[in-house]
């Protein structure tokens, strides 16, 4: 499982970004609720060690067990169904206390790994309807289990991540177009249908959140969390009220921001550090995403590249969803802000992902997949159309 690596190609930039972002996040948690600081700091230290260890583990070794990962995930999710712990009307956790885990959080990484390896072993089949149906069916199982917890936001996020992986792997545009012709009308129909109070699709709390977003005045209870968050961020202005300030007019200090150390940590950040701090935080996260994409571009290995693309979109989309919710750009969902929110499941998933990305980056140039261009990444129909162009598309 270990290989000989050239430490000069170790991606120190990504490690530095991850460490800086994590410390930044820790400072915000400390100011929001200092009772979590020690736990989170300990978690970060452990996770960094774990990440470092993983960065030297050959990811192919992990990928060998891709079927095991899939089955393990499905078993965990079924376990949640059967023995899960409920909170706030949803059953998403297994175990209790410090050993409480959220399988759907780990599931993002597990499915990325699984899908990447699945596509690698089935190179060239993306153009067949049969394979597409098979892939979709096999991915639908964990997704349906998560949506039934219920956890709509994780499901949507997972769907987007997996879609990006499939897309990058070379999902044919023509097939995509055909699917869209069916999917778009269905989606529009569903959107109209769920606005009907008697709809059967969404759980009442989900429905209220969606309706609260569409029509805030009528569903005030569900939107107050976002209202206070926006007020806090807005009142932060350019420079903010200062980290760990004791300003009595601070919403954070007056306990108006619920979940200020987890899902709404960005509200605490925005209020205390203002626009400058917010942009720095977004910049750090964007940098991590783009460094990952850069690694993907550099990666010669088919599966490795898909994994990094999946992880980049996982961090990118989750960041957008979280900050979008906190700033009332999107309906209220329960997603953590990567590297900032308190929470061990999220922490472990992120650092594991980073460890794998680092290993992929480390192996750059060592792995060469000769079939890279012919098999999946490039649309086969396109190749036939324009052989010369296809060659220019080499990465």
């Amino acid at each position: 499982m270990f290989k000989k690596y050239n430490l000069r190609s170790y991606n120190y930039a990504l490690v530095t970004l991850v460490v800086i972002t994590s410390i930044f996040g820790l400072l915000i948690i400390n100011s929001a609720d200092s009772s979590y600081t020690v736990k989170q700091a300990g978690g970060i230290v452990m996770a960094l060690l774990w990440m470092t260890f993983l960065s030297f583990v050959d990811y192919h070794f992990i990928l060998k067990y891709y079927r095991v990962l899939y089955i393990l995930l499905v078993l965990l999710l079924v376990g949640v169904k059967l023995f899960g712990v409920s909170a706030g009307g949803a059953t998403r956790w297994l175990g209790s206390g410090a050993f409480r885990i959220q399988p759907s959080e780990m599931g993002k990484l597990m499915l990325i790994l699984f899908l990447a390896q699945l596509l690698y072993t089935n190179k060239g089949k993306l153009n067949s309807w049969k394979f597409l149906v098979f892939v979709n069916a096999i991915l639908a199982v964990p997704l349906l289990l998560i949506v039934s917890q219920p956890d709509l936001s994780q499901t949507i996020l997972l769907f987007l991540i997996l879609f990006v992986v499939l897309y990058t792997a070379g999902f044919p545009y023509k097939k995509l177009g055909k699917i869209m012709m069916v999917a778009v009308p269905v989606a529009v129909g569903l959107f109209i249908y769920i606005q009907n109070p008697n709809q059967k699709l969404l759980k009442p709390y989900q429905w209220r959140r969606v309706m609260a977003f569409i029509n805030p005045e009528n569903y005030d209870d569900n939107v107050y969390q976002q209202k206070y968050a926006v007020q806090a961020i807005g009142s932060g202005g350019l420079t903010g009220k200062g980290l760990g300030n004791d300003d009595p007019s601070s919403l954070l200090n007056s306990n108006y921001i619920a979940e200020a150390h987890t899902d709404f940590v960005f509200a605490a950040l925005g209020e205390q550090l203002g626009f400058i701090g917010s942009v720095i935080a977004i910049g750090l996260l964007a940098a991590i995403v783009f460094v990952c994409i850069y690694i993907a571009i550099k990666t010669r290995d088919y599966a490795g590249r898909l994994i990094v693309i999946g992880i980049a979109s996982y961090i990118g989309f989750q960041t957008f969803f979280n900050i979008g919710v906190v700033t009332q750009l999107l309906p209220n969902t329960g997603l953590a802000l990567p590297f900032f929110s308190y929470g061990l499941s999220s922490l472990i998933t992120l650092y594991t992902s980073m460890g794998i990305v680092l290993n992929i980056s480390l192996q750059n140039g060592q792995v060469k997949d000769k079939d890279l261009f012919i098999s999946g990444i490039v649309d086969i129909e396109e190749v036939r159309d324009d052989e010369k162009k296809t060659h220019r598309l080499r990465l």
Binding site: I233, G270, I293, I323
Partner: protein, 925 residues
């Protein structure tokens, strides 16, 4: 074009670059959105943020003081200390919070009870006879359950919760609040639950503290303040409490303070928007009438609150401004003297008419009631009827005496309910053949049926011969009448049963089972049982008197010892207790038990005394009302809550004759020398109304002697002539209209203008002849009589009556002053007419035996009595002024059912003597 197409194609073919663009767009959206929120709209959010977490908390102002005309303090705000609790701490978890709050409450309660301080809160559950029971019913109970279960609305309660027993609810709350009940007394537990429930209800306005106990002792203040740090959320705060000095003398005119009612709040907000629904405001009397002056200006505290309403910082504070002081025209010495005189006189009247047993009524040969005795059993019954001996305590007996008396009561109750049931299920006895006692039970049972709308009097045909028979108590049984009601469809069972009955016997048995159950809970029915227990000696007067001590109404003293060793009889005890003011006419509630006296300065309309007897302790009603005390006084037959001086109305009787005299003199019916012959009867009309001297006669009377002798015939004649004065034929309305003009101008039949509520007076509008001697339909208060006699005293100047002299600010600077307002001057009456009336009043006083030897006081006056009916004594009135050559005070006294106005004259004589001999000399020194 082709180039663009190709580059687009190549872009989409490079799928990673699509992802890069998508990510770049998403991050850009976030940055742009944040730029909009924080930079463009940043200030807007800063401002709206402040207003959404800022709160202005008002602090109460000290209410203005009330003084008498000489600056004697009558009402003021005192500062007392209350121990409060608020949910202000932050805790790691629920268990820690429960432990901290429960502990600090339990420790606080321990300190309070150790120092003898009482917590006054009332929980919806109480501990009685060893078990927990609800003490609230219906919607109040549901509201209570809603609060206990922490629901927002009654509709959120499950059926199980709605029907939970007191024990189940307690169990739920004890578990929920994690209370260790081991060392808690039931009272402490209930108080703890009360506080926890209210803290929960307050969970989003935590800056509002909940009072555990107010007016706590110094020892408790010290003990709690010392432990402030360990008692989470417990604070000792100062608060204002309204105090009244010598409150019983001023209760009716003063009013008290209490939590504002919804209606009052609407009214007050129109004038001052700072009122809110927890404010204490004036209720009745000067307190209500001068609310705007007395209230002061609330202070304000601007604070920042967190989400659960805890104060995070005080930003600014403005101090409250104390209310203005009100100075009354009342002279406290005169007020007290008149009150005491009135009480002594009522005591004297009652004592003079006490009789062990025998005939109650004494009629003259013509059938008029001339005397009325108060039989001792009535007095003993009054003790329980007016709540001096508590019927409720007696029925839940704790002492041996209570148990013994209650045993006999229970036995009789069973006997009588069995009898009633037998009466209803058997043959049924004709009402008129029943004993008086049984009649009273049957009649009460009937009243219960009509009050609960089982028998619908509104459907009843009152001309129906059977109904007439029943209503006049003739030979028809209760049973027969109920059956009659059923057959006529006057019965409505919807209140007691859901089923439909058509069969007469079914309906009848439903009613009888209802009534036999209902009477056992009916206070009136049960008291009636007790009445007859006393009347037939089953419960003795001695036992009733001893219950006064036994239940703690009186403190045990020598009389108690004498009663218990049989050396003092019950009737002697009553006499002694009344003479020593242990029992007063006002508390005993034996008629006559009430009265009014008004003392006015006839030169400006200022009231020097406005006495309503009996008074009560306004201290107990003010602020957090002592509900037991309120119920106690509102049950009393003497009606302490009524202002007997301004709101009780009677016919003026012979005191009206001055008005008739003036009308007669001014209309040329008579002149000061006209003589009218009184034969004892006024024979111009039949049936001929009598003079008071009948069957004797007064002979020839002039207006002066007629006032002296209170000759009815003389004034009948004037009334008759006034009614004929239009065209020679008798027109009663014409006569009463003329009289009304004079009474209006004299200030008798118009509102007095006093600052506190007064009843609207009503001039007589029927029977000019009877109206001329103050009978008819006239209704005047003692205050009206006072203004009337003041106008007569000063020769026709009618001033508005006033109770308030001035309003000043705290530094004593006058803000408002009441000037004397001359509302009317009767210039059209000649000096000779005035002199004739004044002379008549002087002669009258000289004629009263009670004033003999007091000629130097120069009192002019007139007695009057008005008949009510043949079973109670007449109302006695007396109006007067002195000195008659230069009037400085006018005194009016009115005692409902006061036997004879001579008693009032006696009170007045005693007052004038004291006033001119002691008071004036004292004041001059």
């Amino acid at each position: 074009m082709k180039k663009l197409k190709n580059s687009l194609k190549s872009f989409f073919n490079n799928r990673v670059s699509v992802l890069i663009v998508v990510m770049a767009v998403l991050f850009s959206i976030l940055v742009v959105h944040l730029f909009n929120l924080q930079i463009i709209r940043g200030n807007e959010y800063k401002q709206s943020l402040n207003s959404s977490i800022e709160k202005v908390i008002s602090t109460p102002a000290s209410r203005g003081r009330i003084f008498d005309r000489n600056g004697v303090l009558l009402a003021y705000d005192d500062i007392v200390y209350a121990v409060n609790i608020s949910d202000s701490g932050s805790f790691k978890n629920k268990t820690e919070k429960n432990e901290a709050i429960n502990n600090s409450i339990i420790k606080t309660l321990a300190i309070l009870s150790k120092n003898g301080d009482k917590y006054t809160n009332t929980f919806g559950i109480s501990y009685e006879n060893g078990k927990y029971e609800y003490n609230v019913e219906g919607n109040t109970r549901l509201g209570f359950l809603r609060d206990c279960y922490g629901k927002a609305a009654i509709s959120d309660l499950t059926d199980e919760q709605k029907n939970s027993s007191a024990d189940e609810l307690m169990k739920y709350m004890i578990t929920n609040y994690q209370i260790n009940t081991d060392k808690l007394s039931p009272d402490d537990l209930l108080e703890l639950l009360y506080l926890r429930m209210n803290l929960t209800a307050n969970s989003y306005t935590r800056y509002k503290p909940i009072t555990i106990a107010s007016e706590i002792s110094e020892a408790s203040i010290a003990a709690i303040s010392e432990n402030q740090n360990t008692f989470t959320g417990v604070t000792v705060d100062s608060q204002y409490v309204r105090r009244y000095n010598d409150s019983k003398y001023y209760s009716a005119l003063m009013g008290y303070t209490g939590v504002v009612s919804t209606d009052q709040l609407d009214e007050l907000r129109k004038e001052n928007s700072s009122y809110d629904n927890t404010d204490l405001v004036g209720k009745g009397g000067i307190e209500e009438a001068f609310e705007m002056d007395l209230a002061g200006k609330k202070g304000e505290k601007q604070v920042y609150l967190d989400t659960v309403g805890r104060i995070t910082e005080v930003i600014g504070e403005t101090q409250s401004v104390a209310g203005h002081d009100v100075y009354l025209t009342i002279d406290s010495r005169l007020q007290k003297k008149l009150y005491d005189l009135l009480e002594e006189k009522l005591t004297e009247i009652v004592l003079a008419h006490l009789k062990e047993s025998g005939e109650k009524y004494v009629y003259d040969s013509g059938g008029a009631l001339i005397d009325l005795y108060i039989l001792m059993p009535e007095v003993y019954f009054a003790l329980i009827d007016n709540d001096l001996v508590s019927f409720d305590k007696l029925r839940n007996p704790t002492t041996d005496l209570e148990k013994s008396v209650n045993g006999r009561y229970e036995e009789r109750l069973k006997e009588k309910t069995d009898w009633l049931s037998g009466e209803l299920n058997g043959q049924g006895t004709n009402y008129k053949d029943l004993s008086d006692e049984n009649k009273s039970y049957i009649w009460r049972a009937y009243e219960i049926l009509t009050e609960n709308k089982i028998i619908r009097t509104d459907l009843m045909n009152n001309e129906d011969p059977v109904t007439v028979k029943w209503n006049s108590g003739e030979d028809i049984s209760f049973k027969a009448f109920i059956e009659h009601c059923i057959t006529n469809g006057w019965v409505d069972l919807s209140e007691i049963s859901d089923s439909q009955y058509t069969d007469l016997s079914e309906v009848y048995s439903k009613i009888t089972s209802y009534i036999t159950e209902k009477v056992k809970e009916d206070r009136k029915f049960c008291l009636n049982i007790f009445k007859y227990l006393i009347q037939d000696g089953t419960v003795s007067g001695r036992e009733m008197c001893m219950l006064l001590y036994d239940q703690g109404y009186l403190q045990k003293d020598d009389y108690y010892n004498s009663l218990s060793n049989w050396t003092l009889s019950a009737s002697d005890f009553i006499r002694t207790a009344m003479n020593n003011k242990l029992l007063t006419p006002g508390t005993l509630g034996i008629v006559p038990s009430s009265g009014a006296a008004v003392l006015e300065d006839p030169n400006n309309g200022q009231l020097l005394a406005l006495v309503s007897y009996p008074g009560y302790d306004t201290n107990k009603l003010s602020g957090n009302m002592d509900v037991d005390y309120y119920n106690h006084i509102s049950k009393n037959a003497s009606k302490p809550l009524l202002n007997w001086a301004t709101q009780a109305q009677t016919m003026p009787g012979s005191t009206f004759k001055m008005a008739t005299a003036l009308a007669g003199l001014n209309n040329g019916i008579i002149d000061p020398y006209t003589q009218i012959y009184c034969s004892g009867l006024f024979t111009e009309v039949t049936p001929s109304p009598r003079c008071s001297v009948y069957p004797g006669e007064h002979g020839n009377e002039t207006v002066q002697t007629a006032l002296r002798d209170s000759c009815n015939v003389f004034f009948y004649s004037i009334g008759y002539d006034l009614a004929k004065s239009k065209d020679g034929s008798y027109d009663s309305d014409y006569g009463t209209d003329i009289l009304k003009k004079y009474t209006d101008d004299l200030g008798l039949s118009v509102k007095s203008g006093i600052e506190i509520p007064e009843s609207t007076p009503k001039a007589s509008d029927t029977n000019a002849i009877a109206s001329a001697i103050g009978q008819g339909t006239a209704q005047y208060s003692c205050l009206n009589l006072s203004r009337y006699v003041s106008t007569i005293a000063n020769g026709g100047k009618s001033y508005e009556t006033h109770l308030v002299l001035k309003v000043t600010d705290n530094s004593g600077k006058t803000i408002k002053e009441t000037n004397s307002v001359l509302s009317n001057e009767m210039n059209y009456i000649s000096d000779t007419a005035w002199k004739a009336v004044h002379d008549g009043m002087i002669l009258a006083v000289q004629h009263y035996k009670t004033f003999s030897g007091l000629e130097s006081l120069k009192v002019a006056g007139k007695t009057g009595s008005s008949q009510v009916n043949k079973t109670i004594m007449d109302n006695g009135t007396f109006v007067s002024y002195a000195p008659y050559d230069n009037p400085e005070i006018a005194l009016s006294i009115e005692v409902p059912n006061g036997y004879t106005s001579t008693y009032n004259a006696q009170s007045a004589a005693a007052f004038y003597e004291w006033y001119f001999k002691d008071f004036k000399n004292g004041a001059n020194n």
